[in-house]
Subunit: 86 residues, 2 copies
């Protein structure tokens, strides 16, 4: 038995990580998703909280692809087809 360090994002306390960098990435993903969720719900109120959250987490998990798409290259979104990453 030993005491060990685990890491978590305060935005999602149930999810523990052994690796601080992973916890950081998770926290950053959730931060982006929260911001997206608020903005999208305000823009399209019929969306509702749950759908806004699902879409936002999906996009935040795939942020690099969406960054490319919004910057200049909508075709970058095709990368999401094959991987089925969600």
């Amino acid at each position: 038995m030993a005491v060990e360090i685990v890491y978590r994002s305060s935005r999602d306390p149930e999810q523990l990580f052994m690796d601080k960098a992973q916890a950081d990435r998770h926290d950053k993903m959730l931060e982006l998703a929260e911001n997206l969720g608020e903005v999208l719900q305000r823009a399209v109120p019929q969306l509702g909280e749950q759908l806004a959250e699902e879409i936002s987490i999906y996009m935040a998990r795939n942020r690099e692809v969406f960054a490319k798409a919004f910057k200049s290259n909508p075709e970058a979104l095709a990368e999401l087809d094959a991987s089925g990453a969600a």
Copy 2:
């Protein structure tokens, strides 16, 4: 009376522009929105076509802000508050 040139995106034939650059921007916005709509509907099927389209057009109209948010700066989305751009 005179014949004049007007421009339009084939994605939205009803919207005519006197200025080619404006028509180009409109076409690019719609291209991005179409791609986003497909990807989001596939990722979250409960979203439905109409909501997917509304969200996608909103994001495509504000693409610079979303590009910043996805690249590295979620706080960039705060820019959307004041303007109410939709």
